[in-house]
């Protein structure tokens, strides 16, 4: 007996060391897992029971609203399944904090879960749309999917109490890998209940799902998948037409470009007619660009710049020898052509004339003024260095740069107007007085110091004179000697 008692005691002592799960004990703490409101009107909370302690355990949920101390019990334990509490419309208030606790109790004791504070506003998560419907719409040549779905069945959008936004996703099904999330394409559908997806691939099979969210709450689960299979022989005529159109456009474009490049100038002239630039006669833009101020100024100065002074030793008026351009038509003035030995720059002849004019005005070489040619041309002659001195021409060159450094070889003079000339040679000069006392040979007086003498020799061509021959007496047959003419004048002027 004693041994029995000892055995019982030992057994009991041993039993006390056996883990509690073998024994009855008060329940473990339950835990509230989540609360959800699908439509902002009701909500449900679920909990996870702790250990039961081996005894039948009952769970009760108690809540307290924020503003009051009164404690209420869960209105419905069954609607939402096991270990849940469903708050119906009457018991649901929004924008108020619920303080919820779950109590597990058995015969041995109670266990309280941690309190959870819940505001319905934060736990809104709608049900996903059911019955997603996909149809293939074949319009003309561009088929597309039309995805349609009804709103979640319990959400009240009609009154505006809830605003639901949807999202659609689709992917091509291949090899049946449903879990592959990287192939999904998601589209935001806003508040619509349908969505169109364009340009599907022919022959492919697509999986489409829809989900929604309420206000700014949580997204619902994805709806059950909807499948669609596209036929293989979808019309591609639209593609063909587009390709053709593009090709034609490219060809036309290339043609136009080619034509334009060929006829560039004409087109340019047609579209943008060239504007005539203002031109100052005698102003050389090339010279301006070269930037040498001396030459520019001297060039400007040569342009009709009035003679600096009629120096006293110049007794003759300056004969204006005009530009080729201006005097092309008129034949009333003598044309002076200086042909240089090396550079016969005919287009700068006029400039050279002007240059000579100026230069001559600058350089007073009274000594050079010979009786032969100096008269009419006045200062011009000085530059001509009709004597053998060739340096003065070069001096001019330095000034005007328009005259090359050649010796002035020829002087061709084309008088146009004068009706009479007197041939004069330097050697002959003494031989033949020009007018002397006989004024009857004078046929015309042109200006102060120009006289036209009658002579038998008609005016025709021009005379070439060699500058370095002071005689200047090369006569080509039948050509007048303007030299003589000039000589005449000189004589007169010198005597006047």
């Amino acid at each position: 007996m004693r041994r029995d008692a000892e055995q019982a005691l030992t057994l009991m002592w041993l039993l006390s060391w056996i883990p509690h799960s073998m024994c009855h004990s008060p329940p473990g703490r339950p835990r509230l897992t989540k609360c959800r409101s699908p439509e902002k009107e009701t909500f449900t909370c679920w909990w996870e029971p702790g250990s039961t302690g081996g005894l039948p355990t009952s769970y009760h949920l108690y809540y307290r609203k924020e503003s009051s101390v009164e404690v209420f019990e869960c209105p419905d334990y069954h609607k939402a399944g096991n270990n849940s509490c469903y708050f119906d419309k009457r018991h649901t208030s929004i924008w108020i904090i619920y303080n919820i606790t779950v109590v597990a109790s058995n015969t041995l004791g109670k266990a309280y879960s941690e309190s959870v504070e819940v505001d319905v506003m934060d736990i809104v998560q709608p049900h996903p749309p059911e019955n997603v419907n996909v149809t293939l719409m074949q319009t003309k040549n561009s088929p597309y999917f039309l995805v349609q779905w009804p709103p979640p069945h319990d959400a009240d959008t009609r009154s505006g109490w809830v605003t639901i936004k949807y999202e659609v996703r689709l992917k091509m099904e291949n090899r049946g890998d449903e879990k592959d999330s990287s192939n999904w394409e998601s589209y935001d559908a806003g508040k619509q209940l349908e969505f169109s997806i364009y340009s599907p691939q022919p022959g492919a099979k697509y999986v489409i799902q829809v989900r929604c969210k309420l206000d700014q709450g949580l997204w619902s689960e994805w709806s059950p998948s909807a499948f669609i299979q596209l036929p293989d022989n979808m019309s591609d005529t639209q593609n063909a037409v587009m390709i053709l159109a593009i090709t034609l456009t490219v060809i036309i474009f290339l043609l136009t470009a080619g034509v334009l490049t060929v006829k560039m100038k004409r087109v340019k002239h047609f579209l943008l007619p060239p504007v005539p630039e203002p031109k100052i006669s005698g102003l050389d833009t090339q010279l301006l660009k070269s930037g040498k101020s001396e030459e520019i100024f001297s060039a400007l100065v040569t342009l009709g710049y009035p003679q600096i002074a009629q120096s006293s030793d110049r007794q003759v008026e300056y004969l204006v020898v005009s530009d080729y351009d201006e005097e092309a038509e008129s034949d009333s003035k003598a044309r002076l052509e200086y042909q240089k030995k090396e550079n016969c720059a005919s287009d700068s002849a006029q400039n050279s004339i002007q240059g000579l004019n100026t230069t001559l005005s600058e350089q007073a070489h009274p000594g050079i003024v010979s009786n032969q040619l100096s008269a009419v041309f006045g200062d011009l002659q000085q530059g001509l260095h009709l004597d053998s001195n060739g340096s003065s021409v070069k001096a001019q060159d330095q000034n005007t740069q328009m005259i090359s450094d050649s010796k002035c070889e020829h002087v061709s003079i084309t008088p146009a107007r004068f009706t009479g000339y007197v041939e004069v040679d330097e050697e002959k000069r003494e031989q033949k007085p020009l007018v002397g006392e006989d004024y009857s040979v004078v046929s015309d007086v042109i200006s102060d110091n120009i006289l036209v003498l009658q002579d038998s020799i008609p005016v025709q061509g021009h005379k070439e004179v060699k500058c370095d021959k002071t005689s200047g007496a090369e006569e080509t047959g039948g050509v007048i000697e303007p030299l003589g003419y000039m000589e005449t004048v000189t004589t007169f002027s010198s005597t006047s």
Partner: protein, 211 residues
């Protein structure tokens, strides 16, 4: 004479255009626009709260800010759908406007404090707070138009004064108070949004496809 006549015509046209532009927008469109703005307001405040929560010190997270401590808690509002659907329109509107008005000062405070918050997302928070302020002003102006359109008594607003002018002395209390104010605002923006959306659908009875 012609010039005068054409000038008169022109003036009349301009006046009519102005009139139409101000008053010609229907109530439906005004409410539609207002509910879009309130939706944006609520979504901004939600995203701001998320930004704040992303790095919130654990101290503040334990306790959920009590709505009863918000300065707008004294306003009597409907707390469920049935109640809300029973509220007359102008009262709903005045509730929304009162709430909106009550937040203009606190948001200014939040806006000024946002740039100096001890939070890694400070810049985002700052810009979103400013956006929130702009949004509130736009919505307030829009609701003024709605009031005129509806012809309801516009001076039916409740005064919900906000007395604080600083968020706190030290970094932590500033952050905690910022979080608290923001959560109050998020709740109130949800209220405004819900009321306006109910109003919108009620006004759109002629066009049920809108709701």
């Amino acid at each position: 004479m012609m010039a005068e006549g054409s000038r008169l015509y022109f003036a009349v046209t301009v006046l009519m255009c102005a009139f139409v532009s101000i008053n010609g927008v229907g109530l439906n469109d005004l409410l539609e626009r207002a509910s879009q703005l309130s939706d944006k307001l609520h979504s901004l405040s939600t995203s701001l709260t998320n930004d704040l929560d992303s790095h919130f010190p654990p101290v503040g997270r334990v306790m959920m800010p009590r709505p009863s401590m918000c300065h707008t808690s004294s306003l009597q509002i409907p707390n469920d759908k049935d109640q809300a659907l029973k509220v007359p329109e102008d009262e709903l509107l005045s509730l929304a406007r009162s709430l909106l008005l009550a937040w203009s000062d606190p948001l200014a405070l939040l806006s000024s404090e946002a740039s100096s918050l001890a939070h890694p997302e400070r810049n985002t928070i700052d810009s979103k707070t400013k956006e929130l302020q702009d949004n509130i002003n736009s919505l307030g102006a829009g609701l003024e138009h709605v009031v005129h359109k509806m012809g309801s008594s516009s001076d039916n607003l409740s005064s919900l004064p906000f007395y604080s002018n600083s968020l706190g002395q030290d970094k932590t209390s500033r952050l905690v108070n910022f979080h608290f104010l923001l959560s109050c605002f998020r709740r109130d923006s949800h209220k405004i949004d819900s009321f306006l959306k109910v109003l919108r659908c009620r006004a759109a009875k002629k066009r049920p496809e809108m709701c």
